[in-house]
């Protein structure tokens, strides 16, 4: 269930285009901070606790359905495709942030996602299956 902080309303520290202009390490650092805030809401982290960037995400409560929901949040915020197994195969926030930072450098992926932000309305989005390119499990 959703936590008290709706993860979908949290803003990146910089817009995706500005993030892309940063060096990859700095980009990963900024994404890591954003991920920790998003996950604090999504994982129902108890009050006075924080999401750890270095502990296993699964050990902090990430499951497949939470991961699926977060792929959408991250896709809307970062404007890159985020397959669910990217979240499930990267063990920690730091590893996931590094993977996402690398994804922001790949224009073929990001160019496909020119949808308006934060409009996850039912039935308003083209099908994922229409997306060209290799299937997501071969990436990441």
């Amino acid at each position: 269930m959703a936590g008290s902080t709706a993860p979908d309303t949290l803003q990146l520290p910089l817009p995706p285009a500005a993030l892309r202009g940063k060096a990859v390490d700095e980009r990963a650092r900024l994404i890591s901070g954003y991920l920790c805030r998003v996950l604090t809401g999504a994982l129902d982290v108890p009050p006075a606790h924080r999401v750890s960037a270095e502990r296993s995400l699964r050990a902090q409560g990430l499951n497949s359905l939470t991961a699926l929901r977060l792929t959408r949040t991250l896709r809307l915020a970062l404007r890159v495709d985020v397959p669910v197994d990217l979240l499930l195969t990267h063990d920690t926030v730091t590893e996931l942030a590094t993977a996402l930072a690398a994804r922001l450098e790949e224009p073929t992926r990001t160019a496909l996602l020119e949808e308006p932000p934060r409009t996850a309305l039912l039935g308003k989005e083209p099908s994922r299956t229409a997306r060209p390119g290799p299937s997501p499990h071969l990436l990441g």
Partner: protein, 289 residues
């Protein structure tokens, strides 16, 4: 939830006994374990039966209740497999087959060196564990009923026909319908051994059986497992597998008892009887919930 069990123990220390329980050829046994719902501090659970990998994972949990639920589910799994194989719970060698889509070490969970060929699948979520045991491959999934927000945010990842079906429902029915669909999808993806590495929009696991509806995954029977209010669950088996009509409730006592095999083999309680016999046409058909 997808479970991982990759540790191994060195060699069996005792000779296997005759198995106390058996799954008939082409059959499927489903087991459910409810609880624990709270953490009451130190337990007398036989954690020594877990392997190194399981103990490492258990130790990593941030919340004590998550750890307790993980440990409980894995002891339950080992004790069930022990009853079906005759190998002691702590001596079962559990590992992972190669992923069927990328070859990585995160495919279906397997038992090595068992005298009885057996497949299994474990899923647990928020105090409910479901374990499927079959001579054929099997995938199970259980989730807590998703929230409306999770439902809405998750829809775009699904097959277009699945999205359309859910979109036609009144909003208050969508979370349960999405939960049923999602567990069918995840059970199927566990069954075929890819897990969530496969494109979630690639397969149709909707409930539409009408004219013009897409086919479900060929060769697979995927059904919801009803009878667990607050949760949604599903099982996927190859279509030639006979469907079990029931889920058995695993007695909590069997996690602690020395004679767990006997307890398991003599369980009479059946949780539900609503999974119909497979007829090869009802792929993905939900049976209530």
């Amino acid at each position: 939830m997808t479970e991982a069990s990759t540790g191994t123990l060195i060699g069996a220390r005792t000779a296997p006994r005759p198995p106390a329980a058996a799954v008939e050829k082409g059959g499927l046994h489903l087991w459910a374990l409810h609880g624990p719902d709270r953490d009451d501090g130190p337990t007398t659970l036989p954690t020594a039966e877990l392997d190194e990998d399981e103990l490492t994972r258990a130790a990593a949990f941030v919340r004590p209740l998550d750890r307790l639920r993980y440990v409980t589910a894995h002891i339950a799994l080992r004790r069930l497999l022990a009853a079906y194989t005759g190998v002691a719970p702590g001596e079962l060698l559990l590992s992972r087959a190669p992923c069927s889509s990328c070859g990585g070490p995160h495919g279906r969970p397997v038992i090595t060196g068992s005298p009885v060929p057996l497949n299994f699948s474990l899923s647990h979520s928020h105090g409910l564990a479901i374990i499927g045991i079959s001579a054929a491959t099997v995938g199970v999934d259980v989730e807590r009923l998703p929230s409306p927000e999770t439902t809405q945010m998750s829809l775009p990842a699904l097959h277009p026909r699945e999205q359309a079906e859910l979109g036609r429902l009144p909003p208050h029915e969508r979370p349960a319908a999405f939960g049923r669909l999602w567990t069918r999808k995840e059970a199927y993806l566990k069954g075929i051994g890819t897990g969530l590495t496969r494109d979630l929009g690639a397969d149709y696991l909707g409930e539409d059986r009408g004219p013009g509806a897409p086919e479900g995954p060929p060769g697979w029977t995927v059904r919801n497992v009803p009878g667990h209010p607050g949760h949604v669950a599903a099982v996927a088996v190859p279509s030639h597998t006979e469907q079990c009509g029931t889920t058995r409730r695993l007695p909590l006592k069997s996690l602690y008892a020395e004679d767990a095999d006997e307890l398991i083999a003599t369980v009479k309680e059946r949780l539900c009887t609503s999974l119909p016999a497979a007829d090869g046409t009802a792929l993905g058909a939900a049976s209530g919930v």
